[in-house]
């Protein structure tokens, strides 16, 4: 599991972790049944406080992204809500907020900004 946490960002570390795991599940990089590293392993790898990791895992369990089976590792749940179209759009929408704000400041219309985005996504930026 490839995770990068900026420990000096004002974005809470637990939220960075939740967002990145949710994104990887939604994008299919983490698949149902995949093992999630233990708190201990991830803490050593990222230099992150174990309480922070437990908090993130608990939230992802609550959201139905991860599932804990007694005595076994935490795994990605089948039919996770994170993979639904609604959830994927919501994730993208959150990330796009600063871009929308910039477009407004530059006086770029929604239609033109959408066209820029379309070109970037389809990889034919000129």
């Amino acid at each position: 599991m490839l995770i990068t946490i900026d420990l000096h960002s004002g974005v809470p570390a637990y939220r960075q972790l939740v967002d990145q795991i949710r994104l990887q599940v939604a994008g299919g990089r983490l698949r149902p049944g995949d093992d999630i590293p233990s708190t201990r392993v991830l803490s050593a790898e990222l230099g992150l406080n174990p309480m922070t990791i437990s908090r993130a895992y608990a939230l992802l369990e609550e959201e139905g992204v991860l599932e804990r089976r007694p005595g076994l590792a935490l795994v990605v749940r089948a039919n996770s809500r994170a993979t639904s179209a609604t959830s994927r759009v919501a994730q993208f929408s959150r990330a796009a907020r600063p871009v929308a704000s910039m477009a407004r400041q530059l006086g770029i219309s929604g239609k033109d900004a959408g066209e820029v985005l379309r070109r970037l996504i389809d990889n034919d930026e000129r």
Partner: protein, 297 residues
């Protein structure tokens, strides 16, 4: 499983005319790494000294590991590890002799941990104490405080004299210890950048008053900086919205605010004032002046 390791209620400490702690009520719960922050002379060291009974409250209560601090016995103190702000050792001993001497007081002293800490911190056991640099003396104090697997670890400015590599290793070590021993660690520091990466809880003192006592991530969730840009009309002279904690730069076209607001507040604010808002999170360095200000009395 959250144990109260230390608890203060209505704790006030006066030194003559100076009040070092004012009506402090809080609990340190573990396992956790708690960052004790505050400006100079805010009461951090005085609070740490109360935990081990080196100072006693003028008024109010202090309990460590369930026992009133004026009645702490070896049984409780042997479960505590302390790195003081100015460690002192027996100068004619070597590092090895000093540690052997200390180990006699602690039934839980772990020679394997001693060896691995000395190795990790790159401290030479045959060195004479009197020849140690300030940084090496601080490393020895850290080794001496951690070998007996304490349940409660108090660190007063432990990173101030460590070089960047030793500092990094030390902070990782704290994460290991909290996992291995389920310990509760209280670390006081001015170096917010260092402790930000390690602590999960913040206690901020200002002028002897508790100005913040919360999970670090909750503080980051609660506060944000809003960079406000006017759209069509000028900004007001000041924003009266209740969630605005601080307004720093403000002119007719732009303003920088610190807010404690919910998502719904943002949308309403943009509509009400006809503005664009860039939301920027605040890290510990950014939060610090706001927390300190909350503690003004």
């Amino acid at each position: 499983m959250s144990d109260v390791m230390f608890e203060a209620s209505g704790l006030t400490k006066e030194f003559g005319a100076v009040t070092a702690l004012r009506n402090v009520s809080l609990a340190f719960r573990g396992p956790s790494i708690i960052g004790l922050i505050g400006r100079n002379a805010s009461g951090k060291t005085t609070l740490l000294r109360h935990i081990v009974g080196l100072q006693l409250p003028t008024r109010g209560q202090a309990r460590t590991l369930g026992v009133a601090t004026r009645r702490l016995e070896h049984e409780q103190l042997a479960r505590v590890g302390v790195v003081p702000d100015a460690p002192s050792f027996i100068t004619w001993m070597s590092v090895r002799e000093q540690l052997r001497y200390l180990s006699a007081f602690y039934p839980r002293w772990d020679m394997a941990r001693q060896a691995s800490l000395l190795d990790l911190l790159d401290l030479f056991v045959d060195a004479d104490i009197r020849g140690l640099s300030t940084g090496s003396a601080q490393k020895l104090a850290i080794v001496a405080a951690l070998c007996h697997h304490p349940d409660l670890i108090l660190l007063d400015e432990p990173v101030s004299n460590l070089d960047p590599i030793a500092r990094d290793q030390f902070l990782k070590l704290l994460l290991d210890i909290v996992q291995e021993d389920g310990a509760t660690i209280v670390i006081s520091s001015h170096v917010l950048h260092d402790i930000e990466s390690t602590v999960d809880w913040i206690v901020c003192l200002n002028d002897g008053v508790v100005a913040a006592d919360a999970a670090l991530d909750d503080l980051k969730d609660q506060y944000a900086e809003w960079r406000v840009l006017a759209r069509t009309r000028d900004l007001p002279d000041r924003f009266a919205d209740v969630f605005v904690v601080r307004q720093t730069v403000i002119n007719p076209r732009g303003a920088r605010l610190v807010v404690r607001a919910a998502d719904a507040d943002l949308a309403a604010f943009q509509r009400a004032h006809d503005v664009d808002v860039d939301v920027a999170p605040l890290n510990l360095q950014g939060l610090f002046p706001i927390l300190v200000n909350n503690g003004r009395h």
